[in-house]
Symmetry: C2
Subunit: 331 residues, 2 copies
Amino acid sequence: MANIKDVAKRAGVAISTVSKFINGGSVRSKNAAAIKKAIEELDYKVNDVARMLKTNIAMTVGVLIPSLDGLFFTTIAALMEDEFQKHGYSIILCDYRNDAGLEKEKLDFLISKRVDGLVIVSHDSLQYLDSRNRQGIPMIAIDRPFDGVDSVTSDSFKGSMEAIETFIEMGHNDIAIICGPHEVYTSKIRLNGYIAAMKNNNIKIVDEYMQFEDYTIEGGYKAMCELLKIKKRPTAIFTTNYELTLGAMMAINEENIKVLNDISVIDIDDMIMMKLITPSLSVVAQSMDKIGITAAKLLIKRMSGDFEKFPQNRIVETSFIKRNSIKRIKT
Amino acid sequence: MANIKDVAKRAGVAISTVSKFINGGSVRSKNAAAIKKAIEELDYKVNDVARMLKTNIAMTVGVLIPSLDGLFFTTIAALMEDEFQKHGYSIILCDYRNDAGLEKEKLDFLISKRVDGLVIVSHDSLQYLDSRNRQGIPMIAIDRPFDGVDSVTSDSFKGSMEAIETFIEMGHNDIAIICGPHEVYTSKIRLNGYIAAMKNNNIKIVDEYMQFEDYTIEGGYKAMCELLKIKKRPTAIFTTNYELTLGAMMAINEENIKVLNDISVIDIDDMIMMKLITPSLSVVAQSMDKIGITAAKLLIKRMSGDFEKFPQNRIVETSFIKRNSIKRIKT
DNA sequence: CTGTTAGCGCATTCAA
DNA sequence: TTGAATGCGCTAACAG
C-alpha cells in the first residue's frame, strides 16, 4: 500500500506538505492539486496506526455491554455510534456475555487498542478499572451509576412506582413483578419502586409475586409460568425489561388467558413490538435516545479535556405510555 | 505510561533484550528476572499500536454482521470469538444495520484498523472489497457465499426441503412459508427449497402462502397476521429464522388458535426458546458451532499464509429435529 | 545471549 | 508556505 512518502514523491513535494494537506492545513493550490491527484492515483489511505502512534489519538471509543442479546443496550450502542460518528469518532463494540472475568479481559482489550474513551455497562469492571488507576481514559457508565465516574441512568425507580400505582388506581391488588437478576442494579431499583408503591398503598407484598430471572426471553417465560401456577393468580404483571416481557407474553398466550381480559400488563422499555401486538402494551419508556446521546456528548466533552463538574450523574426521566393492556377491575 | 525503554533502563539491560523477553525469546535467567520485576513495578504494557506499526500484524480480526438484533449472527460471532481467542486473536465486531452504505463504511473502518482478517455477512460489500482489490486481507463469507471468497454456509436449501416434505408426509397441503427479504441469499434459497418440495409432490404453490418480511420479530408478526387473514388458512407454517418465528408465534397466540391443534409449525434455527415453549417446536437446526468454528479455523489458516485450495466453499449440513409442533392431518 | 541501530508511517518542529 | 529532520514505541537484523 502506498504511504505518505510515495504520495510526496509523486506530487513532487515534501512529506510534510502532504501531511499538512491531509490534515486540512493551507497549501499552495498548485501543490494541493498535485497531491490530490497523487493520492487518487495511488489510492493512498492514511495509516491510522502510524498516525495513532504519533498523535496518541485513536478517534475511537470502546463500548462494553453485558451481552449482545439485549435489545436495549444494542439499540443504545447504535444510537451512540451515530452521535460519535458526527464528531469523527468510531466505536469498537464488545460484550462480555454477563461474565465478570470476561468483562475485565474485554476492558483490557479495549485499553490495549488505545481507545480515547470508554462507555461501560458494568457489573464490576469499574472498580477494576479504578484499581488500575483508570489509565487516564475518560469513561462513562450507562444504566448503572458508579462512584467517581460519570454516568447516565434512567430514573426507573420512579418509573416503576408509576407503573405499580397505575395498576393500583385501576383497582389491582394482586400485582406481580418479573425482575432481572438479584444483583443487577436496575433489577434492584425497579423492585424497590414496586415495593415502595405497594407499601405506600398498604398492599401486602407477596413473595411469590416477585420473580427473578435473567433478562432474557427464556427468563420471562419461566417467570410467567411460575406466576401462572400460583393458586391466587396475580391480576396484574409488571415486566421489567423487553426480553422478559416477550417471554412472559409467550407464556401467557399459551394458557387460555388473555392479556387485558384476564391479566393486565405493563412493561419497561418501549420497543416496536409493544405497539404491534394485541392488545398494545402500556409501558414505562426509557429514553434510549436521550441516554445514548447524553452519554456520548458528555464523553466527547471529557475526551476533549473538559472535566467540568466531574463526575456527573445524569438521570434521565422515564415516561409512562398508556395503551391497551390495563383493565380496570372491581375492588 | 511506561515504555520498553523505561523497562530496559530499570532492568539494566538493552531494549532489544526486553523485547526478546516479551516475545518469548531466550534470555539469561538473571536478566529475565530483572525484566519481569521492572515490568511489574512499572506496570508496563506493550503498546500494541507501536508493535502493529512495526510488525504489520494486529492479531485482530474484524467481524461484520448485518445487525445486532439477530440472535443467529451474534451467537456465531460469540462462538467465533472463542475460537479466535484460542489462537491469540481478538475480534472487533461491527454491524451495518442492514444498510448497504453503512456496510461499506464499516468495512473501511475495519480495514483502517488494519485487522489481519475479515469475517463478513454481506449484502454486497464483497464486491466492494473486490473492487478495492481486497486490500490483500484474508476474508471469509458466512451464511452467504461469494465468488472468489472462502465461505461457510448452511445447506438450508436441503433443510427447507426436508421441513416441507415432513409437512407433506403428515398430510399437509396448505403450507405457508415466512421468508426474509427477497434479496437476501438465505431467503431465496429457503424459498427455493420450499418450492422444490412442493413441486416434487405436485402441490400447487399459492402466492399468498409466501410471505416476505425483514428477519425481525415484527416481520414475523406481520407475516403471520397476513397468513391468518386468508380465507383458506394454511394448516402448516414454515418460519425461516428465529426472529420471524417468535413474531409468528405471538401472532398465532393472539388468535384463538393453537399451534399443533390448529396449525403446525417448523422453524429454522434451534434456539433455547424453541424447546421451552408449548408445544416445543420442530426445527431445521443450523449448526452455529460448526459454522463459526469452521470459518474461524479456515480464516486463521489463511491469515497464517496458507492459501491451499483457495477459495473454499464449505457447506454445513442442517439437521431436522422433530418435536411437538407438527400434527398429522387427514387428507 | 546481548546491545546497537535502523526503520515502520506519520505529525510536527524549526529554518529557510 | 515549504522541506529537512526528529521521534512516537517497538521489532528485527546485525555485530559483538
